[in-house]
């Protein structure tokens, strides 16, 4: 028998893992998630910008940023809920508080943040309840930075090597992207004379995003393979980088003529941000439910983390399955929650 240990036939199991099949499951997240990252980032950074501008005495800019944050903060929870397999059970996330789960932290953060940001924006728009508005704006600004960067922790808490390996730089990518989006949005909405600080925030955010991404890809090394070639992640990545760079450049060039740029269109509203997030999540819209799994170069994203098993040629195609015959599960587990012991077993 030991003679068999000699080797394996070409194309046989062992040459490329188990029949070339990916070890990991394809993540279940849908197109909503990158957009959720973008709206959350835009809202969170706008809330910070709003309060900072008010503290600096720039009231028109504060007003613009608060109004920009509100719709993004309103859309964000809707995207998060619609991503669920059972959206009607969203509130189950609020039955427990679990620091070990970034998504649990995010659900609580968003549940606290969204009403504050929407309230502050509405009060600003309608010009009512000034004290309530200030309190809500300060609360939103306190939670906003967490909303912007927790998503990086969310993404890094993953077995997918390219996400897990990006854990150090990803929060800075998201912070930069959020600042670029918030700066751009406030720049569009604020009167020209008050918009100068927003332009600076947009430029700085764009630069931070580009620099952090560069650092991230350098650290990832061969794990960054899904970002190269012509897979969906690579394509979105090029768009993200190009648009961020173009927006940042235009914003910088727009210097003394802010009003002109503002009327022309959004030089730095970072339209790249959702593409960037989409790239980081390794997927493009349309939603993957209707899409074939990525093939070719993007496949290593789902292959095992260890260099011993990493195989850039690993295929991730799966055979077409006929619709499963549904059999209802008759053996329900009963009142298991009363027995639960959360945390690590020792």
């Amino acid at each position: 028998m030991s003679a068999a240990a000699g080797g394996t036939a070409a194309g046989a199991p062992g040459a490329d893992g188990y029949y070339g099949r990916p070890v990991l499951k394809r993540p279940a997240w849908t197109w909503e998630v990158p957009w959720y990252f973008w709206t959350g980032g835009l809202a969170g950074a706008s809330s910070v910008l709003s309060v900072a501008a008010r503290a600096a005495g720039n009231r028109p800019l504060a007003r613009a940023a608060a109004i920009a944050a509100a719709p993004a903060a309103a859309v964000s929870p809707a995207l998060l809920v619609s991503d669920l397999g059972r959206p009607e059970r969203f509130l189950n996330m609020l039955r427990v508080f679990r620091p070990s789960s970034p998504l649990s932290m995010g659900a609580w953060l968003l549940s606290a943040y969204a009403p504050l940001a929407v309230g502050a924006g509405a009060a600003e728009l309608l010009g009512i309840l000034p004290r309530t508005r200030t309190a809500a704006a300060v609360g939103a600004a306190a939670l906003g930075p967490g909303l912007v960067t927790y998503t990086a922790v969310l993404l890094a808490h993953n077995a997918v090597p390219v996400w897990h390996g990006a854990q150090r730089e990803l929060p800075f990518v998201f912070a930069g992207s959020a600042a670029a989006s918030a700066g751009g949005a406030a720049f569009l909405l604020a009167p020209a004379a008050a918009a100068e600080p927003a332009r600076r925030v947009a430029i700085a955010g764009g630069l931070l995003e580009l620099a952090a991404e560069r650092a991230m890809e350098r650290r990832l090394g061969p794990l960054a393979a899904p970002f190269e070639g012509d897979g969906p992640a690579a394509r979105l990545g090029r768009w993200a980088r190009g648009l961020t760079a173009a927006g940042t450049t235009l914003a910088a060039a727009g210097g003394g003529r802010a009003g002109r740029w503002r009327r022309r269109g959004p030089p730095c509203c970072s339209p790249a941000a959702p593409a960037s997030a989409g790239r980081c999540t390794g997927r493009a819209s349309p939603p993957p439910r209707t899409r074939a799994p990525p093939s070719g170069r993007s496949a290593p994203a789902w292959t095992p983390a260890s260099p011993r098993a990493r195989d850039p040629q690993a295929r991730s195609t799966r055979p077409v399955r006929p619709a499963p015959v549904r059999v209802r599960n008759s053996a329900t587990l009963g009142p298991a929650s009363s027995l639960s012991r959360h945390g690590t077993y020792r």
Binding site: G11, S101, F174, R289, L333, Y345
Partner: protein, 290 residues
């Protein structure tokens, strides 16, 4: 099948013990009785993949509708050249003897990790640790967020698309509550799947692998029996006759939540940069006019 003493689930003091599987693949015959018994007992939906061409494996992988999966690996020093032009031209290598061929079979299952990624990241508390140390999804709580799917370093748990919720092996928690072994272990005709208190299984497995190595199976190894590995050891571990990759198993699995503290520190630093940056750029810039 071995018969488990009804008291095996508890210590003499009445404390529940950590129960698990030891899957000794050296005696697996690939009958798939474990797959069938699991489906029958747990009411797992059919998932006919059709003919895959992957040896005898038409189950393909673990997933929402496959909680046991028997892998088939055919190993030979040469491949299809016996049947192609080489064979016609008479240049094919000599047919290997039976000694050169090897047929590996292994029944894969959820590992019930000591540090379970799926359990750590579940935001609803639907996934919990039972008193027997297994990791179970409560289907009446799960809201289908799908976070567990990408947190599993083994690709075990999966969302059932027409249902929206995540499913996986429960180590037959309901049977354990009634003092019965899991369905797969009960059905296994060669005792390849052994169920019992984890510490006893580890001792038994250590002896078994020693015996196999001494008998010439140089690559025989335990997979997941080490409590110091990246997931803190498996509740369901394996004796393999080749490297884990050959069976489609990750050689060095790490729970993605291991670096949680550093990730949150980096997120905090980035949040600080965001706030400080915006404050500086807004505060230091010329005041906006009216």
């Amino acid at each position: 099948m071995t018969t488990l003493d009804p008291g095996a689930w508890f210590t003499p003091d009445g404390e529940p013990r950590r129960m698990g599987f030891f899957t000794d693949t050296s005696v697996c015959i690939g009958c798939k009785a474990c797959e069938v018994a699991c489906k029958e007992w747990n009411g797992v939906p059919s998932d006919v993949a059709g003919f895959t061409g992957m040896s005898f494996d038409n189950t393909v992988a673990l997933g929402a509708d496959t909680w046991r999966h028997v892998a088939f690996v055919e190993q030979a020093p040469v491949g299809l050249e016996w049947f192609g032009e080489d064979a016609a031209a008479g240049t094919a290598p000599a047919a290997p003897s039976a000694q050169d061929l090897r047929f590996l079979m292994s029944s894969d299952v959820c590992k019930h990790c000591t540090r379970a990624g799926c359990l750590d990241v579940c935001p609803t508390g639907a996934i919990f640790r039972t008193e027997f140390g297994s990791v179970v999804v409560q289907e009446d709580v799960c809201n289908g967020c799908g976070y567990c799917v990408s947190a599993c370093p083994f690709g075990v748990i999966e969302r059932r698309e027409d249902d929206g919720r995540a499913f996986k092996c429960t180590l037959c928690y309901d049977r354990s509550k009634g003092g019965l072994e899991p369905a797969c272990a009960t059905a296994c005709p060669t005792d390849s799947i052994q169920f019992g208190p984890l510490d006893e299984l580890r001792d038994r497995a250590a002896g078994r692998v020693e015996h196999l190595v001494a008998a010439g199976q140089s690559r025989a190894q335990l997979y997941g029996a080490d409590p110091d590995d990246g997931v803190g050891g498996f509740g369901a571990f394996f004796l393999l006759l080749d490297r884990p990759e050959v069976y489609g198993l990750p050689p060095d699995p790490v729970v993605p939540t291991r670096d949680a503290a550093r990730m949150w520190r980096m997120a905090g630093a980035a949040a600080g940069v965001l706030v400080a940056g915006i404050a500086a750029l807004v505060g230091l810039s010329p005041r906006g006019g009216r």
